[in-house]
């Protein structure tokens, strides 16, 4: 079972990484999703899988745990990680949608405006924006 989980997690990591390296934004999103599933599986198997045992230790016996028991901690971790990655994914989806609507491209190679050294016409456009914004502030 552990081997199966390990192989699955490995495949998910590999496919996720492959998708992350694509240029399309949606594929990158899918890559992120696959990677977060891979990590969840990794977390799940981190507690040494123990089938058929309770995740509780009784307080009646000695303070040292002798009986075989299932570790509840990884499941708590996954639950938290799933919730967090759900929220982050929801935000990422909306961001990509909004970016696609505003910028109109889905290709990372064309998303270079914030990286390249500012070109002349680009700055002019920005300047007007800044000044408008400045004046509207001043009127207040």
């Amino acid at each position: 079972m552990t081997l199966l989980l390990a192989v699955t997690a490995g495949i998910l990591f590999a496919t996720g990484l492959y998708m992350m390296l694509r240029r399309s934004l949606v594929k990158i999103l899918i890559g992120l999703l696959l990677l977060s599933y891979a990590v969840n599986l990794l977390l799940f198997s981190s507690g040494k899988l123990t089938p058929g045992k309770p995740p509780i230790i009784s307080f009646t016996g000695a303070s040292i745990i002798t009986a075989n028991y299932a570790d509840p901690v990884p499941q708590v971790l996954i639950l938290t990680a799933i919730v967090i990655s759900f929220g982050l994914t929801a935000f990422a989806v909306v961001l990509i949608l909004k970016a696609h609507q505003t910028i109109g491209v889905d290709d990372l190679d064309q998303l270079r405006a914030t990286d390249v050294l500012s070109e002349e016409d680009h700055t002019r456009e920005l300047d007007l924006e800044e000044i408008d914004h400045c004046e509207s502030e001043g009127d207040e």
Binding site: L35, S46, V73, G87, I96, I103, L117, D127, E135, E137
Partner: protein, 497 residues
């Protein structure tokens, strides 16, 4: 007491959401709230100076099982520094944030960001640290794209994707740590990591943490999200990010490595030194090519992170003390420079160095308050940056790492060069040519709420230089306790462990 640095901003955030329609209430809440936070963190700081370590078990679960909150000397210093700049940023955002953005939830997000930052500084549990990181990241994602300008969305995309990747790496490192040690409590892990049988596995986990935190701290091969995104949101948000976010990454590196991987540092050190050198050099070279005020300063963030990383990589008491002092210095100096850039934009309507000019004649006081943090960043005595760099370089010489000493000195020179570039372009160049924006008296808006943070930070930078000795004693004590985790362990798990 220990819960207040986290609870107070959380309550403020919720209250701000309730006051959604009243910007006035939100602004009053932000100012008074962050002032109270400053007082609380000062009190926490004083307590930690007396007792060494403050800690609490959330929900009264005993130490290795429950979530532990710890404030030691390093956390206390950073909490105090953080809340001071948060207070100043709250004042600056009165006029630095347009009312459109403020109406769409700037202030609730501002407080949420602080919840995450303070939580990360207080956490004594690995998974809890991850959760605080996510709280901080989530708030920063939304702040980054708040306003939905084209540039913001584009920068935001790069920022979000790379930071999510770093969270994934961080989380896998946590999973592996738990698998091999059976604990997530940092104090317990310090003990459990020592008995890990295979050196290779410990190194693997260490490197996963290094990359995960390295992306957040923006060190050399992982920094590309920073210059692509930091210049896109309004300057108040950029200043806040530059002061807090990358520094939390460095803090997490220092905390986790000093507790968990102290015995791996010797092996990793040559690689870390190379990364530190490259971070410094590439950051400053990137800055030298820029003609936009904010982009130039963003590249400087990377270069300064290189110095912090150098202090971390050397991993001696003196170098860590220097790194902590440097971190406090760079938070103040960097935010001051961003605030000055914001005020200049307010006056003249541009961040483009080529389009600015003549500000020295127009406003000599502003020039002085630009010059103070700029020279501090370059490391001119008697300002704060001089002592930070001096301590760091003395330590590199003592350890006979002369290569990195020379690189650090050259980078200082280049920092000075790019600061003089700003000075020449913005302040000394004659104004009033065709196409160059110069401050006009009828258009001149320089609100008092922007001046207060700039002047305060300028004075702090000077005072940090003058009172360097007591401050260095404080950071020395913090670094000393970092390298002796035994007190940390005993405080949390009880004596005899």
């Amino acid at each position: 007491m220990i819960y207040f640095p986290i609870l107070l901003p959380l309550v403020l955030s919720i209250l701000s959401i309730f006051a959604w329609n009243s910007l006035r209430t939100q602004r009053v809440l932000a100012i008074t709230g962050s002032f109270v936070l400053l007082l609380i963190n000062f009190q926490v700081f004083l307590q930690v100076q007396q007792t060494g370590i403050l800690h609490a078990q959330v929900g009264n679960w005993p130490a290795p099982f429950g979530i532990t909150l710890v404030i030691d000397r390093l956390s206390a210093i950073l909490l105090l520094t953080g809340s001071l700049v948060i207070f100043l940023a709250a004042i600056f955002s009165l006029s630095g944030i347009d009312s459109e953005r403020a109406r769409w939830g700037y202030f609730p997000l501002f407080h949420f960001l602080i919840v995450g930052v303070n939580g990360a500084f207080c956490s004594g549990d690995l998974f809890n640290l991850y959760v605080w990181f996510e709280v901080m990241l989530m708030a920063s994602f939304v702040l980054m794209v708040l306003g939905s300008e084209r540039r913001q969305l584009e920068g935001g995309l790069k920022y979000v994707i790379l930071n999510l990747l770093s969270s994934i790496l961080f989380l896998s490192a946590i999973g592996l740590t738990y698998h091999f040690t059976g604990s997530l409590n940092l104090a317990q892990l310090t003990i459990n990591m020592r008995v890990i049988s295979s050196q290779g596995i410990a190194l693997l986990i260490a490197v996963l943490f290094l990359v995960g935190f390295g992306i957040k701290a923006a060190i050399f091969p992982f920094f590309f999200w920073l210059p692509a995104s930091y210049h896109t949101p309004p300057i108040t948000i950029t200043a806040l990010f530059s002061g807090l976010l990358t520094k939390v990454g460095v803090y997490a590196l220092i905390r986790v490595f000093s507790l968990l991987f102290a015995s791996q540092m010797e092996f990793l050190q040559p690689f870390l030194l190379i990364l530190a050198g490259l971070t410094m050099v590439i950051g400053v070279l990137g800055a030298a090519a820029q003609t936009d005020f904010r982009r130039l300063l963003s590249f400087h963030i990377i270069s300064q992170i290189g110095y912090l990383f150098l202090g971390f990589a050397l991993f001696t008491k003196a170098s860590l003390a220097a790194a902590i002092y440097f971190m406090v210095h760079v938070i103040f100096a960097k935010m001051a420079l961003f605030f000055v850039a914001g005020l200049i934009e307010k006056k003249c309507g541009s961040f483009d160095l080529r389009r600015l000019g003549g500000l020295y004649r127009n406003s000599p006081i502003l020039s002085i308050f630009f010059l103070i943090p700029a020279l501090a960043l370059a490391g001119i005595p008697p300002l704060s940056g001089f002592f930070a760099k001096l301590l760091l370089l003395l330590e590199t010489i003592r350890l006979q790492k002369y290569g990195i000493t020379i690189i650090a000195l050259l980078v200082s020179l280049l920092t000075l060069f790019s600061m003089t570039k700003i000075w020449n372009e913005v302040f000394w160049k004659p104004p009033l040519e065709e196409g160059i924006k110069s401050p006009q008296t009828n258009h001149l808006t320089s609100p008092i709420s922007m001046w207060i943070p700039i002047i305060t930070l300028g004075l702090i930078v000077v005072l940090m230089g003058i009172f360097a000795d007591p401050l260095i004693n404080l950071t020395n004590a913090a670094a000393g306790s970092l390298l002796q985790p035994q007190t940390y362990i005993e405080a949390i798990l009880g004596a005899g462990k």
